[in-house]
Amino acid sequence: MAGPVRGLAAGAVFVLLWQALVTLADIPPFILPGPVRVVEALWSNLGLIGWHAGITLTEVLAGLALGAGLGAATAIVLAVSPAARYLVRPALVATQSLPVFALAPILTLWMGYGIWSKVVMTVLIIYFPVASAFFDGLMRTPPGWLDLGRTMGATPARLLWRIQVPAAIPSLASGLRLAAVYAPIGAVIGEWVGASGGLGYLMLLANGRVKTDLMFAALLVLAALALLLHRGVGWACDRLEARLD
């Protein structure tokens, strides 16, 4: 109960400060509209914003699912195969020195203005944190558990599945929590570079037409989506860890 109350209180303080800033500094609405104007814009464009939010949400969820799946699979392959560790791991780390955002125009060029260039962008952003966190967890299984499993006659596959993977779930969960924060960034960057829909696209469009209130309304919805996603993934991770712990 304390959490939501605190959240509401913080939100109320934020809205008050926002309104005070607009009123006291006499900021024109095309630079910073007040909270009331933004809510009005949100209300009168609910269908439009909802439609674009649906696109962004689809991109984020698809990217999150694919990126988490690929990242987890990579971690397992690396954990199982010393050859893969030797060959792939340096390459994996090297790719992280490249700002993934720089790839957005190329992705748009290759995959067009539809959702797939954004899904791939999201996958690229979250793949590494998930793979890296899960891999670390898989490699840090307490050695005693593995010794015990070996004396019991476990095959490497069963050691992995029954001991290493469950033991690494908390690490995977921290990777996924990070991924939930990064995923909307990937999708919105992709939309800014070139899109025919989505909240990032809508914000650019509104900006170009000086519909600043609509831009802020879209931003508000984006923030709400990101927060919900963060909470949702956090909740799922908590459930997963509680089952294990």
Binding site: D147, R150, D245
Partner: protein, 241 residues
């Protein structure tokens, strides 16, 4: 359980150029308790791991043989200083871990009986986090017994327990592991004096055997001969290397 074999380990071990222990000759009798006593870092755990077929990270020059000439791998149950319970499995899940790891159907009924025999019936569905240190080590013993292996390797399994729980666990282990070939690695002279049918002392110079009292193990801790033997073991441990 198949008949318990004796085990012979002959050889020395080193880390590259640095010797860990000089060539030793360890004879573990079939179906009885042998205690390997020594200070930390003398290589006694390495000897246990060599017998268990586990990774040791040392160069071992020698061999490990079972008296019946068959391989030791697959006939060993292992119990360590920490209970090694998996926190995400309940007591029964941990006791039947071996079957799961071998892809067999866990014998839940047998495991339930065993858990009850070790006084854990009320805890069968609890996770390790809800148990005390002594209870957890009982679960580890149940898991070891569930494996039903003729050779049991114990690496200081009671050293983290308080004196009373330790004595209880020693009694319980002696009773339940009867008839198996047991190697107990320990740094506690009292434990070796109580439990060892044979006692081997390990130090930097190598391994020597200390002859325990005629009274069969498990000996009462207050038995004068056992206490005197414990004193001799401690004195031998304290001799400068």
């Amino acid at each position: 359980m198949t008949p318990a074999p004796g085990i012979t380990l002959v050889g020395g071990a080193s880390f590259g150029a640095a010797p860990l222990f000089p060539p030793v000759h360890l004879e573990i009798d079939a179906g009885s308790w042998s205690c390997l006593l020594g200070p930390s870092g003398c290589g006694k755990t390495t000897i246990l791991r060599l017998i268990a077929g586990l990774e040791t990270g040392v160069d071992f020059d020698g061999q490990v043989r079972a008296s019946d000439g068959r391989p030791i791998a697959g006939r060993v149950a292992y119990m360590a200083q920490t209970d090694l319970l998996l926190p995400w499995l309940d007591v029964l899940g941990n006791v039947t871990l071996g079957a799961r790891l071998r892809g067999q159907v866990p014998e839940t009924e047998a495991a339930t009986e065993l858990v009850a025999r070790l006084g854990l019936a009320a805890h069968a569905h609890k996770r390790p986090g809800q148990l005390s240190g002594g209870q957890r080590q009982r679960v580890a013993l149940a898991r070891t017994l569930m494996e039903d292996r003729p050779i049991v390797l114990l690496d200081e399994p009671f050293s983290a327990l308080d004196a009373r729980t330790r004595a209880e666990m020693q009694d319980l282990a002696a009773e339940t592991l009867e008839g198996r070939t047991v190697l107990l690695v320990t740094h506690d002279p009292g434990e070796a004096a109580r439990l060892g049918d044979r006692v081997f002392l390990m130090g930097a110079k190598g391994m020597v055997e200390a002859v325990p009292p005629a009274l069969p193990a498990i000996r009462p801790a207050a038995d004068p001969e056992t206490l005197a033997f414990q004193g001799r073991l401690l004195a031998a441990l304290r001799e400068p290397a």
